[in-house]
Symmetry: C2
Subunit: 196 residues, 2 copies
DNA sequence: AATGAAACGGAACGTCGTTCCGATTACGAC
DNA sequence: GTCGTAATCGGAACGACGTTCCGTTTCATT
């Protein structure tokens, strides 16, 4: 098993100086553009902001989704690592679950259009979907199992469906002031509580 | 109240015979293509199936979304009309709400990609979103209010957020066998129950 | 300096929704 | 029947998108 998915050597010391410089410029530019124009911003805009040609993007990041992944990798990892920590710290598994979900929802809602991008498993964002799942599913499973074992929630919903549900509920939360994704996710979690 | 939004005179007796014929051919072709290739099917495919040029589509339906609306108008209307009926027939308002939600979810999940199309309020599907809301929001409000008045559910979630939540949960339900939108919607509704 | 490989940039491709416009057709007036 | 005209038609053309291609430039090595 290699360092799974390091898209085109994100950080592996490449031979040439310009290559490394451009890769970093691309990541910085993408981060900026994603904030100002959303994750759906045209590839050309990102290339322009980084001062490179479009071809350069695709040499470093095989597809649009890989660039998105590279930009948000740190935050996804942080979210993944927060799971066990919360479980160890929280008063109950359910409390930890709630807090972790808050973290995840905050992350999705904060990035314009990320939730939207993640579910449309069209040709374009498949890798994104996959990366999120690979990284977060085990954590979510652990939290869900713990809360189920302690009898706080029902145990008949797997983490995959739970996470997809949350992701879906976050769609459009950034563009519509009348829609409060956090609230609906809270409702979904409430529906998960053991009737007892 | 007029027949709000009759996109380009869907059924108003147009002057010319060929125009009427093409409009019907377009509706039939679109219905077929939507079933086989999803709501996202290229406009050109629909035009080809109907045996007309792409220009003809846009004379009858100003935008892609208007065609989608025209195809599903009957079913949306049926869903809207089922609301009061269920409320009158059901044992409790909550039961009526649950059944109506089932109806709505079935409708969304059955049409490939409809849910996905409805929330991406990009330039393209805005009208679709709007039509659904115009037609179904009053009905949903009525059901929600009735169930809240009878003390069965909490009253602090408006119909708009509720419907968006349901719509979002249905996204991708058709393409992913591991994802059961009906279940998650049921969980959401369960979370709505009054703690008492 | 010379050289070969790696990286560059932006033109070009295929797809999409949509617009445009010259050709065609139906229908009322004669 | 025929003719004029306005409505309708079909598909080429446009602009935006993600992605690919390839001639040119730049780097690291000698």
């Amino acid at each position: 098993m290699n360092d799974s998915g390091q898209s085109s050597g994100s950080s592996a010391r490449s031979k040439r100086k310009d290559a490394r410089r451009n890769q970093q410029a691309l990541l910085d530019a993408a981060a900026e553009v994603f904030v100002s124009s959303g994750v759906d911003a045209p590839v050309r805009d990102i290339a322009a902001k980084a001062g490179v040609g479009t071809g350069t993007i695709y040499r470093h990041f095989p597809t649009r989704a890989d660039l998105v992944i590279a930009v948000y990798r740190h935050q996804v990892d942080a979210c993944a690592e927060a799971g066990p920590a919360l479980l160890a710290a929280g008063p109950t598994p359910h409390a930890a679950l709630v807090r972790w979900v808050d973290l995840f929802v905050d992350f999705l809602v904060t990035k314009h259009g990320l939730a939207t991008a993640m579910q449309g498993d069209s040709t374009c964002f498949g890798p994104l979907h996959t990366y999120f799942l690979d990284r977060l599913l085990p954590v979510c499973t652990q939290l869900l199992d713990a809360a189920a074992d302690s009898g706080e929630i029902r145990s008949d919903l797997d983490a995959y469906q739970f996470m997809r549900g949350i992701g879906n509920l976050c769609v459009g939360a950034d563009t519509d002031p009348r829609y409060d994704a956090r609230r609906l996710v809270a409702l979904l979690v409430a529906g998960l509580r053991q009737p007892h």
